[in-house]
């Protein structure tokens, strides 16, 4: 097992939860070939997804803002629907959205989407692999497969982690059949956009 000290110092539960490195680091937005966790969750390795004027985002999703609603709406366009648990389900592909409370402290996750929207800031996304593990692209660094979602739970240096991903707050799922259709549409969209310049 490869050890990644920069990730283990960022997420203090990661080493104990267990993880495997699955790709090399790409560098931050701007470096050719870079992509982030949101892109990775959307199965896109060509863009850095973030709902700000400089980041890549689905152009028709409005308003473009860093809120839970915006992330949920965007992934609904990719065929995902909110589900109750992170448990692996046959025939479904799942993603988990991480967010941190505006106080940047460990806070109980609210039961309503409205509360999440009002007081929590999205930070990260992970995608479930067919074997039930989770796959995350850690910012500009490597992709890893981690066994649990709380492996990346983090609240900054005051709580023993270098990073501030908060915790997993929303789970979404889509049928594998829909996943294939969406991926085909994405593939065509990017290639046509590339051709049209």
């Amino acid at each position: 097992m490869v050890q990644l000290p920069h990730l283990e110092s960022g997420f203090n539960k990661l080493a104990r939860a267990g993880y495997d490195k699955t790709s090399e680091a790409t560098g931050f937005f701007g470096t050719p070939g870079s992509y982030n966790c949101i892109a990775w969750a959307a199965q896109d390795i060509h863009h850095w997804w973030w709902p700000t004027p400089d980041g890549y985002w689905l152009s028709w999703v409005k308003p473009r803002e860093v809120t839970v609603f915006c992330f949920v709406t965007t992934f609904r366009w990719l065929g995902y629907r909110i589900c109750r648990s992170s448990r692996c389900e046959l025939g479904f592909q799942k993603i988990a959205l991480y967010a941190i409370h505006y106080s940047h402290t460990p806070t109980p996750v609210p039961s309503t989407l409205q509360e999440l929207h009002d007081f929590w800031e999205p930070t990260h996304m992970a995608r479930q692999l067919p074997d039930g593990k989770w796959s995350s692209k850690c910012g500009p660094n490597e992709d890893i497969a981690h066994y649990t979602l709380d492996a990346l739970e983090s609240y900054g240096l005051a709580y023993g982690s270098g990073d501030e991903y908060g915790c997993d707050v929303v789970y979404m799922r889509r049928l594998f059949l829909i996943a294939w259709v969406v991926r085909l549409v994405q593939y065509l969209h990017w290639n046509i956009s590339e051709l049209l310049g």
Binding site: G30, W48, T52, G55, V66, H124, E164
Partner: protein, 147 residues
């Protein structure tokens, strides 16, 4: 309306009462202008020194910020970092160094450039396409003779 009402009264005071004083002020004003006119020589030196200081400060802060990014994917979080905010506070003078760094190292200066200049010189459809965004900013910098 009150302003219009009071102005002639003051002008009348200048004309009648303190004409000599005004001429004196005018003389002092001329000497002040002359001083300012000689300023550019000194100013150039100051400007040069400041530019060097700005460059040093920018490089130091940029390296510290790059190390502090950690594993963050969030473009909002990295642009909110205190070191990044300090770079933005350097203002217009930092633009030449920022644009050169953008061109060479491809670091994430897009929000900083926007905050300082108030513009985004690339097409909205190119958002997220770093290659085109860098190209647009570099071209803008060249047009403005910043690089």
């Amino acid at each position: 309306m009150e302003c219009f009402g009071t102005a002639p009264a003051r002008t009348a005071e200048w004309d009648s009462g303190s004409g000599a004083g005004f001429r004196l002020e005018k003389g002092r004003f001329k000497s002040m202008l002359a001083e300012i006119w000689q300023q550019p020589d000194v100013g150039d030196e100051c400007h040069e020194r400041t530019a060097r200081e700005v460059e040093c400060c920018f490089k130091k802060l940029a390296d510290e910020w790059s190390k502090a990014i950690g594993n963050s994917s969030s473009l909002t979080a990295v642009a909110r970092h205190p070191k990044y905010r300090k770079i933005i506070e350097l203002g217009w003078n930092v633009l030449p160094f920022m644009l050169v760094d953008l061109q060479k190292n491809r670091r994430f200066w897009f929000p900083a450039l926007h905050e300082i200049t108030g513009i985004r010189p690339f097409d909205n459809r190119d958002a997220g396409n770093s290659e085109r965004m860098v190209q647009a900013w570099v071209q803008w910098g060249k047009r403005k003779k910043l690089i």
